[in-house]
């Protein structure tokens, strides 16, 4: 029996045939391999002995009971066979329509691009809005529309927050249906739009708000998202609109836990005399914690110094705040920054 075969059997584990045992007894190289596998298998067995964490069972059963109490979403209640049938039917319908020339598939359109086609300019946004009757229906695909709070309140537009601000911020709307120039009219740099104080906000006391605006674990991710949004001068519109429309309304219980979007926190900067200098909307992770006030010092050269945040977070917070404050045209001086108590 060859060394290769014996080593293969050793790797497999288990008993060896007599032939292999005889080879092993006479071959120091294979003996070394056998010793290695024996040691390794002991270590594998030790891995198998790792105890499970306490309360694992309780945790699993709690999740199972919760799942049992929740009704399945409608698409999970539909049998799989029904989905398969629907899928087959959809494919057939699309296939029939495509072959009949009713539908023009993208590949067909690409092939036909050589032919001169009538140039149809996309309708202006205002017209599209008028036709749809709901601007949010038009703006949601762009997913990055920042609008002053007052304008939002006037229009009554407070749709659900878009998932990301990046595509439209760069004017790179998928499909290019909405040129960047048209989007710009709806965009406001974060700082500029945030500079508009809410009526009566000066009289509000700067203090902690009681509600929890969102989970705090993903601090680096939130800070990075804020940096991106602030860098593009754009941030998701809807949270700001919602907060502007009802900034002092406490969300219902459980809402904070249910939301998965980075929460935007309204942070007000007070000048030395106590008057409100501006309001910024920052992600939860970049805002002062509840019941805390940070100090923002704006130098003559426009440089910003943050006092109050933990030392290790300053590196990440600094660029976020600098970008947020950059467009506000904040006069040099010392400001107190904090949340508003409703």
């Amino acid at each position: 029996m060859t060394c290769e075969k014996v080593r293969g059997l050793l790797a497999e584990g288990g008993g060896l045939p007599e032939e292999a045992e005889a080879h092993l007894a006479a071959c120091p190289g294979c003996q070394r391999v056998a010793q290695r596998w024996a040691v390794l298998r002991r270590e594998f067995a030790a891995l198998a002995a790792e105890p499970e964490p306490p309360f694992l069972h309780q945790r699993i059963m709690a999740a199972v009971r919760q799942a049992a109490a929740e009704p399945l979403p409608w698409w999970r209640r539909v049998p799989r066979a029904a989905w398969a049938s629907a899928g087959v039917a959809a494919v057939l319908v699309v296939g029939v329509l495509a072959t009949q020339g009713v539908l023009r598939l993208p590949s067909v359109q690409r092939g036909a691009q050589e032919e001169p086609a009538p140039q149809v300019a996309p309708p202006p946004k205002a017209q599209v809005v008028a036709e749809h009757g709901d601007a949010s229906a038009v703006e949601r695909p762009a997913k990055a529309v920042a609008r002053p709070a007052g304008e939002a309140a006037r229009r009554g537009l407070a749709g659900p927050p878009p998932a990301t601000a990046a595509p439209a911020a760069n004017g790179a709307v998928p499909g290019g249906e909405f040129p960047a120039r048209q989007e710009e009219s709806f965009h406001r740099p974060l700082a500029r739009s945030a500079a508009t104080p809410a009526p009566g906000a000066v009289t509000e006391r700067m203090a902690a708000v009681d509600e929890d605006d969102g989970p705090r674990e993903a601090v680096p991710a939130l800070v990075a998202a804020a940096a991106r949004a602030a860098g593009d001068g754009v941030r998701p519109a809807a949270p700001r609109e919602e907060m502007a429309a009802a900034p002092r309304r406490r969300p219902p219980e459980g809402m904070a836990a249910a939301t998965s979007l980075p929460a935007q926190v309204r942070v007000v900067l007070l000048a030395a005399a106590g008057e409100e200098a501006c309001a910024l909307y920052l992600p939860e992770a970049a805002a002062p914690p509840q019941r805390q006030v940070w100090v923002v010092v704006v130098g003559e050269d426009g440089r910003l110094v943050l006092e109050g945040p933990p030392e290790d977070a300053l590196g990440e917070l600094q660029p976020v705040w600098e970008r947020a404050v950059a467009g506000v045209q904040l006069a040099p001086g010392r400001y107190r920054a904090g949340r508003l108590r409703p």
Binding site: P17, V39, E43, F44, A46, L47, A48, A49
Partner: protein
């Protein structure tokens, strides 16, 4: 060729301390009975199924994901899926291999959704047994400090090597070497053919041996 695995002495559920042994005919029959009761709406039966398999599911997730916390989440997610899919379980595979398959799917999803995070956490830090987890115990109870130190080093090297393997290689090694599944059970859990299991396992062993080249005795 028959496979005779020596059961480790320390806490190897089903080997020495647990009875009936994991994967044995007796255990399979008990599982089947419990599954039937659970499918009939018996929550206690389902809880007993969880109790019987949560440890192995946790260990597989732990080895696949590297972190105990992620493994707990994955184990929890696995049993929620098991609960939801139980009415459709027809017993083509054993309950145990079916659960392994679901657990591996959950782990693959976790690894696919956060590859960098998972990869970063899958590699244990030197001198640390996982993230706050119990230290890896030597199975043979060697008293010689040098031998124990070497064993610890080898154990940690093994964990690191496992963490750097591809998920495909890691899962076959974990199922075979840690959990002790037979080839047929692995094929059922991985939804692939017997030959695929064997060839993948051979490649995984070769990759592991290559990574352990510096710490072999």
């Amino acid at each position: 060729m028959g496979r005779e695995r020596a059961a480790p002495l320390i806490g190897y559920r089903g080997g020495v301390l647990g009875w009936p042994p994991r994967g044995s005919v007796g255990a399979r029959d008990e599982d089947e009975a419990l599954v039937r009761r659970a499918q009939g709406g018996d929550e206690a039966a389902f809880e007993e199924l969880v109790r019987r398999h949560e440890g192995e599911v946790f260990r597989v997730c732990r080895r696949m994901l590297g972190s105990r916390e992620d493994a707990m989440d994955a184990a929890q997610d696995t049993f929620v899926r098991v609960y939801r899919a139980l009415p459709r379980f027809r017993g083509e595979a054993t309950f145990r291999t079916w659960v392994y398959g679901i657990a591996l799917n959950v782990c693959r999803n976790v690894l696919a959704s956060a590859p960098r995070r998972a990869a970063g956490r899958a590699v244990p830090v030197d001198g640390e047994a996982g993230d706050g987890g119990a230290p890896v115990t030597l199975a043979d109870g060697r008293a010689n400090p040098e031998a124990v130190a070497y064993g610890r080093e080898l154990g940690q090297a093994l964990e690191r090597a496992l963490a750097t393997l591809s998920p495909e290689h890691r899962e076959v090694l974990v199922l075979r070497e840690v959990e002790g599944l037979e080839y047929e059970e692995m094929a059922a859990a991985l939804s692939c053919r017997l030959g695929t299991v064997k060839s993948r396992l051979a490649r995984a062993r070769a990759a592991l041996a290559e990574r352990l080249a510096g710490v072999w005795p």
